[in-house]
Amino acid sequence: MPEHDTAARNAQNPTPTEEVGAFLSRRREQIAQRWADEPLFRAVFTVSRDEAVEAGRAIADALAQVAGSGRVEDTDGSGFTPVREQLAMTAASRARAGLTTAQISREVDALRVPAVDLLVADLPQASSEHVRECATTLTALMGTLRLVVMETSLTEGQALIDRQQVQLLEVATPVIRLWDGIVAVPLIGTLDSARSQVVMETLLESVVDQQARFAILDITGVPTVDSLVAQHLMKTVAAVRLMGAECVVSGIRPAIAQTIVHLGLDLPVVTRSSLADALAYALHRLGADIVSVTPGGAGPR
């Protein structure tokens, strides 16, 4: 290993960083064994201890390589590359178990103590000043490891948020053709300015495409109708009217109805409590009433 060569060249007078790198390579096995008993590894690798030891070896190797590069405080060091995925998995596993970022950080920090203990025990001949310098270097290196773990877990979290935001946009708003000349949009979730803009655009396009006479806005899936939501609804209604179609707002639940009244909102639009009622209204206005088949005629044949 290159660290060994470096250490060998400076065997008489190694720098603390070289000493720590050499120590990490030399005592890799003991360090991994000690780490396997720490809470972090015990909690993450529950299947077998061998797995935990293997993970410990990988991290010790990575740290040795970072020390070998001479930049113990560089979180972007290429030495960390092989273990980044493993560290992210470890942090994610602890986060799923309900630990806060600070708690995970403390668990990673707990790995430092056995490593420093082993280092001190490994240098019986060295001067106390050299031991102290080596311990400081190793502490800095473990601090860098801690930062790398935090960084990878934050990156993971951000990636998750990005994926979910894209997903949310996809959920947006299908415009459904219910009948000839009747389209409906089931609105779901929060109707903020950006989403109501998307709703209005897709609805207006489909009013043209479907040559719709009626557009039904169903708000069953909108949990809160406040004045801004109402304002967005009314703007959509006005735009649909300008296209020559008529709007019906459906899915107004009793609690929402009472709230709208108290809020003082006036909805100058045809409203219905259910989508079925709204469809029946639109069909009636189109002259296509739904009628019951004469009694006895509708039985199964």
Binding site: P223, T224, D226, S227, L228, H262, L263, L265
Partner: protein, 149 residues
């Protein structure tokens, strides 16, 4: 952010549209935990939505504190305090009247929120920010009309 998602006593920041979603969800959960019926929940959440948006849009951001309260007869309620350090409201009477807005909204937020809750208090002066405190009680009829100014 202190407090937990399901906690009743909590302090939530209001700095973005996403925070408004969080405030609504939190108030809904807290109101359900205190024992509000569906209608009272919806009314309080809607009032919270209006006031939180005011805090964001006109106050330039701030925070809301939610707290469980109890009156002398043992009725549980929920008190929400919205605080911002924005420009303040020069004319409270005008701000509370329906249809008045200094922005481009419908002008129903403040007055509407007052009608949606049982108790409403507003403290504001130009330059010193705005604090709105609202309280609703479980199992209590809406306050009579004549109490409204």
């Amino acid at each position: 952010m202190s407090g937990t998602a399901a906690g009743v006593d909590a302090r939530l920041p209001i700095r973005s549209d996403l925070d408004l979603v969080w405030v609504r969800q939190h108030v809904r959960q807290a109101a359900a935990a205190v024992g509000f019926g569906l209608v009272e929940q919806t009314k309080l959440v809607t009032a919270a939505s209006e006031l939180a948006r005011n805090t964001l849009v006109y106050g330039g951001g701030g925070e809301v504190a939610t707290e469980r309260v109890q009156d002398g007869r043992g009725t549980h309620g929920l008190r929400l305090t919205f605080t911002d350090r924005g420009p303040g409201i020069p004319d409270l009477e005008q701000a509370l009247s329906d249809g008045y807005t200094s922005g481009d909204g419908l002008g129903l937020g403040l007055g509407g929120a007052r009608r949606l809750v049982h108790e409403f208090a507003i403290d504001s002066a130009p330059g010193s920010g705005t604090t709105v405190t609202v309280t609703s009680w479980a199992d209590r009829p809406p306050r009579p009309r004549e109490e409204l100014r």
